[in-house]
């Protein structure tokens, strides 16, 4: 009886003991974005908020090497790969045992399905792959091997797979509705508005487009979980900067996005408990010169303008800190050419070049256009005006809505003489800021408002894309950079700082330059 009573007491003691205190308390995290999540379907994601959702809900085939602070691709879903000698065939071995949120294993069929879906839907980043891929060229060799057969060698291909997210084929196909893609209906687009079909570290619990996406951690995530990682994320949309600052200052938000003003970040820096992390970004701020419009069709005039501009004032007084741009490729992008010529302010040289150009003074009249909602671009315009008036130019400054700038960019005749543009790396490859900006195939978009044309550069860029060996690719891309800068199609002003603010108990934040990949909640731990 005594033994029974003892056992009973022990049992009661065991049951009454606060075991919960020893288990891992759930860690919730609030992240604020100032843009709405426009696409919860990863095949349609292009903007930062949609990409952050995709990165946390889905797995891309390859992943940037964040551990080394680099955007170079490293194994992820694909654990290894080989490339054929002609650079046209990529074969990937997939990791075994990766589970979708549905519980099904991720296989080569899902990879084939996801890429063909992206190519057929023609949304998101599909334009990166459409030049070299089409449905039928991606094959599942066995359950864990997938092969991509490109039409031709394509240097940016491997890097672009960081933006290729894999969906659960069965789940998507079970949820298709009538739509524009023939037998595939809407390809599950409507379904992906309210649920996810991924294998990422978090699963979508709730999504109210205008306000919040709630994600909870996927316990069976293949990379496993460590203590103090985030278990629940409230990803909120708040557009007003004053409100965003109030939220982080009061501790109602743990991290806020990069779109606050420079002054906003300066203010947050003064608040105890808030960390403002600054890194050189992979963004280029440049003033594109329309090379088809007189007097800027004269290379000496463009060079003169490049020499007249006051870079130091722009960076120190207007950007309040940034990296001086050295050519079209942001300096932290692999493949940037450190030997590229750099224009520095030299009024005497600028005046000499204007004289040598043979353009009469009365024709030195140009217009500068900027996005009307960006005061910084207006300030740059005022600085440019003052600088150019010193060497005899007349400058008219014009603010335009972004929609209008995009429309003006379609033709050389409508494109202003000079347009201020912020241009972020579109895919993790130097090709984005060389071929993507200076090959004539891009004319008509805001990225190519210089309408630059140099047969030698075009030839070099095409050869770089087709080159198989990475060293040869890089040599050619670097040569292209030198040639382009000599022709001065832009005033290369700055690689602005990427800034983000978070509470000081958030650990593990890493910026690698790729849009959205710095806000992978799986990488963060909370040390309150």
């Amino acid at each position: 009886m005594k033994r029974f009573t003892g056992l009973l007491l022990m049992l009661v003691g065991v049951l009454a003991f606060p075991w919960g205190a020893f288990s891992q308390a759930p860690v919730t995290f609030t992240y604020i974005e100032q843009q709405i999540i426009t696409a919860s379907d990863p095949a349609a994601a292009v903007d930062e908020s949609s990409l952050i959702a995709a990165i946390n809900l889905y797995d891309p085939l390859l992943y940037p090497n964040v551990e080394k602070g680099s955007m170079e691709p490293r194994p992820h879903v694909a654990e290894s790969w080989t490339v054929s000698p002609d650079g046209k065939v990529y074969t990937f071995k997939l990791r075994r045992g990766i589970r979708f949120h549905s519980g099904r294993e991720l296989t080569a069929e899902d990879v084939v399905f996801s890429m063909e879906r992206a190519l057929r839907m023609k949304k998101g980043f599909s334009w990166v792959w459409t030049p070299v891929l089409e449905p039928g060229r991606i094959k599942a060799l066995d359950k864990y091997t997938v092969r991509f057969e490109l039409k031709e060698a394509y240097a940016p291909f491997l890097g672009s797979l960081l933006l290729f997210f894999i969906l659960d084929k069965d789940l998507v196909m079970r949820n298709i509705r009538p739509g524009p893609y023939g037998e595939f209906g809407d390809y599950g687009s409507a379904f992906l508005e309210r649920a996810d079909a991924g294998s990422g570290p978090y699963r979508m619990e709730r999504f109210d487009r205008a306000t919040e996406m709630v994600m909870t951690r996927f316990e069976n995530y293949w990379r496993g979980w460590k203590p103090n990682q985030i278990s629940r994320v409230s990803f909120k949309t708040v557009t007003e900067e004053a409100t965003v600052k109030t939220l982080i200052k009061s501790g109602q938000a743990d991290m806020v996005n990069q779109w606050l003003s420079v002054q906003g970040f300066q203010e947050l820096k003064q608040v105890p408990g808030i960390v403002v992390k600054e890194d050189p970004s992979v963004q280029l701020f440049h003033l594109q010169m329309n090379t088809k419009k007189p007097p800027l069709d004269n290379v000496k005039v463009r060079q003169a303008i490049s020499y007249a501009f006051d870079y130091d004032t722009a960076i120190q007084k207007i950007f309040l800190g940034a990296t001086r741009a050295r050519g079209p490729v942001p300096v932290r992008v692999p493949g940037w050419n450190p030997k590229v010529p750099v224009y520095t302010r030299n009024v005497a040289t600028a005046k000499r070049l204007v004289a040598e150009s043979g353009v009469p003074p009365e024709r030195l009249s140009i217009e500068y256009a900027y996005v009307v909602t960006l005061p910084l671009e207006r300030q740059i315009g005022l600085l440019l005006k003052a600088n150019l008036e010193e060497i005899g130019f007349k400058v008219e400054i014009r603010g335009e809505p972004w929609a209008r700038i995009v429309e003006l960019a379609t033709k050389p005749e409508t494109t202003p003489h000079i347009t201020a543009i912020f241009d972020t790396l579109k895919y993790p490859h130097v090709d984005s800021h060389t071929y993507g900006m200076y090959h004539p195939s891009c004319w008509g978009t805001f990225r190519c408002m210089s309408f630059y044309e140099n047969p030698k550069v075009t030839q070099v860029l095409e050869a770089a894309r087709r080159a198989v060996k990475p060293e040869e690719q890089m040599r050619l891309y670097q040569l292209a950079q030198e040639l382009i800068v000599r022709d001065a199609p832009s005033i290369y002003v700055a690689n602005p700082l990427h800034r983000i603010a978070f509470r000081d108990y958030v650990k593990g934040y890493r910026y690698v330059g790729l849009l959205g990949f710095d806000v992978a909640f799986y990488d963060f731990t909370i040390a309150r």
Partner: protein, 335 residues
Amino acid sequence: MSFRTYLLRRLLHIIPALLGLSILIFVLSRVVPGDPARLALGPDATQEQVEQLRREMGLDKPLVVQYLRYMGGLFRGDFGFSLRTRRNVAQDIKEFLPATVELTTVAMLFAIALGVPLGVLSAVRKDRPEDHISRILALIGVALPRFWLAILLQLLFAYYLGILPTIGRGPAPPVRLTGIYLLDSLLALDFRAFLIALKHLILPAFALSVGSLAQIMRLVRANMIEEMRRDYVLAARSYGLPERVVIYKYALKNAFSSALTVIGLSYGFLLGNAFLVETVFAWPGLAFYGVDSLLFKDLNAVVGVTIVIGVAFAVVNLLVDIAYGYLDPRIRYET
């Protein structure tokens, strides 16, 4: 003219007004510079992709054909595809409209509940300190930019005092019947959810109401002063009726009828202009959605929102006219 004929006539007046509004906004949305298909697909989309989307949206058709198609769809409840949210605009409106209706209704209630008594007080205590204070408050209310007031309220009550929430509507009530949280929580008899929703509403609704509050206050004051000078007030007083009855039962009823027009107009105005307050408080409403769509050149969304706000404006004004007729029976027969 019977009340029914009057009502029918007023309803018929709305049709050409809405038709005119739809034509105007449809044409305006299409002539504003910027290619919506290019904007929606992003700068890197190929020309082929842009053309494909333009064809899918019918943007390659003449404007008249586009309009007729759009109106045809509208009668079937199809507001067209939103380039921004990538779903039917009707779905977006269904999601965002209740939040704005809730916000503006509570704001209007604030404006009436505070504006009318303060206006009466100001009139009764004309040229005394209460009147001067209310005049100053009214001036401030009209002059203060709403977004600035909203930020100040947010800083004071949410950040420093921490007694009211900073943003949003709070958690949705368990049952969604109307999308109006106050109503849904009451219908579900969930009083906790009701209180949470109310707490989230106080700051944005007050910030939104201040302009209308000041207007109503001044109008009621002016009308009350005029009414209080009339013979029937003198007669009522001479009969020895209590002052409270004279003021609230007789004078205010007459003074209020013209304020009603302002209230109706204000409600419509608030519906369309809640944008700044919705932005500051991250309130997921229709005004914010509309302005965001405009910036993004989301054609169908812009037209859809404008038409919905137009309809709401017309309906509220109709209700005001009916109420006006109730307060002053001469109106419906003399129109």
